[in-house]
Symmetry: C2
Subunit: 254 residues, 2 copies
């Protein structure tokens, strides 16, 4: 797999403490997590149109839809039943079970609340090619790198609670017609921090050297880039002047 060359040279120091590792991961989030992306800033300022929110919900659905596939790849690579039992929760959270509808269904409700047709969303008609490319890279990473790095790439969940809290407040304020579609975010408020705690402990316990810790940090950087690139593509296609590529979703009346 042709991935970005990584500087895996081990610094001479020993491995970081748990607090030191957490601090490095948080620094990555400050620099690269998509809470600072101009598309999110517009969303939170109430400056997105309904059509732009539709484009967001439609494209982001593709990301949501591969998350349990991504987690199933990680499951398939985990040799330890205890690890697999813990990680399996993620697949259940997204695909649902007898007692819960699951995150994918909840995202479809959000998409429906924007006015999209659920069947079109599920089929992925009109999603941006760049969405597919970025999201598929997430699958490449969990398939081709070490299990440690695959787990570490989930650590954007360290940052998602704050973003989701803010987003729910802003969506309710600026787009009240969306309020019935926020169950997805509500559920993530508790799921994401639990998952992040497990993954952080896993990375700390399994990265035995500073060089391995650096690989884990790089995996988080790359995951942030995957989230960021999805918003870049939306912004370029759907914020003025707006150049959707051939065949992509077009905003009605735009």
């Amino acid at each position: 797999m042709a991935v970005r060359p990584i500087d895996a040279s081990a610094p001479d120091e020993g491995p970081l403490s748990l607090d030191g590792l957490r601090a490095q991961l948080r620094a990555v989030g400050e620099e690269r997590y998509h809470h600072q992306h101009p598309f999110h800033l517009m969303m939170h300022d109430g400056r997105l149109s309904r059509g732009q929110l539709q484009a967001w919900a439609l494209n982001r659905y593709y990301y949501q839809s591969i998350i349990p596939i991504k987690d199933s790849i990680i499951l398939s690579r985990g040799p330890d039943p205890v690890f697999r039992r813990a990680w399996r929760k993620r697949v259940v959270d997204h695909d649902g079970d007898a007692t819960s509808e699951g995150g994918i269904k909840r995202w479809l409700k959000l998409a429906e609340a924007t006015g999209l047709n659920v069947d079109q969303v599920r089929a992925g008609t009109g999603i941006l090619p760049a969405t597919r490319f970025a999201v598929n890279e997430y699958l490449n990473i969990v398939r081709s790198r070490s299990l440690l790095e695959a787990v570490a790439s989930s650590l954007t969940e360290l940052f998602s609670r704050d973003l989701i809290s803010l987003r729910m407040e802003k969506l309710r304020q600026h787009y009240p017609w969306l309020s019935g579609g926020l169950d997805y975010f509500e559920a993530r408020l508790t799921q994401a921090p639990e998952d992040a705690k497990f993954a952080l402990n896993y990375v700390y316990e399994n990265a035995k050297t500073r060089a391995e810790q650096e690989l884990a940090i790089q995996a988080l950087r790359d995951k942030c880039d995957i989230l960021w690139a999805q918003l870049d593509a939306l912004h370029f296609a759907y914020v003025q002047p707006g150049w959707p590529p051939p065949g992509a979703f077009l905003i009605e009346g735009a």
Copy 2:
């Protein structure tokens, strides 16, 4: 591999003739090939700065660098020695041999003519994440789809001669300081049409049904999207207002 759902339902008609197939492929090019992308239009109008041309040469190098890897994957999947002998030419064209420096080296000369440091280009420092995601998807396609579709994805070469001829003329006219770096394009003027002819014949002979022909046409569409998305990312990052993602190449003085 999570790829775009493809409509592989076989139309009731029989397979297209060679001329009919060529016409369908050309129609895909008219709609989706990147000759119409705003970034190329700016390039050909002489409206790109040196820094923007650097960003283009730097990012496009990543694409160039994986082409012989992509072709080696196709080699590895071709069971027929006659096919492999023919396809091997592509790896030689890019990697070079005792008598020729090869396309990758020629692209580095172009990058150097823009004023970039060759070692930085080779290392890929500062390339856009979206470039990696789009280009890596090309590797996903030639690995995970049928050999027929992998071969068909190369058929953008049906269109590249016209674009390269125009580009060489416009680069010489608007950016004369680049003229020493155009060997790559000069070589492609003859290589690409030879390769396209072989690939088109291969697709025609090996797609036995209309449904298989449709899969080949879809592979060309997806390849066009990969080229287009690379220019979208450049345009979004480096044409005003310009939002390069965290960690990406920054234009000097911008």
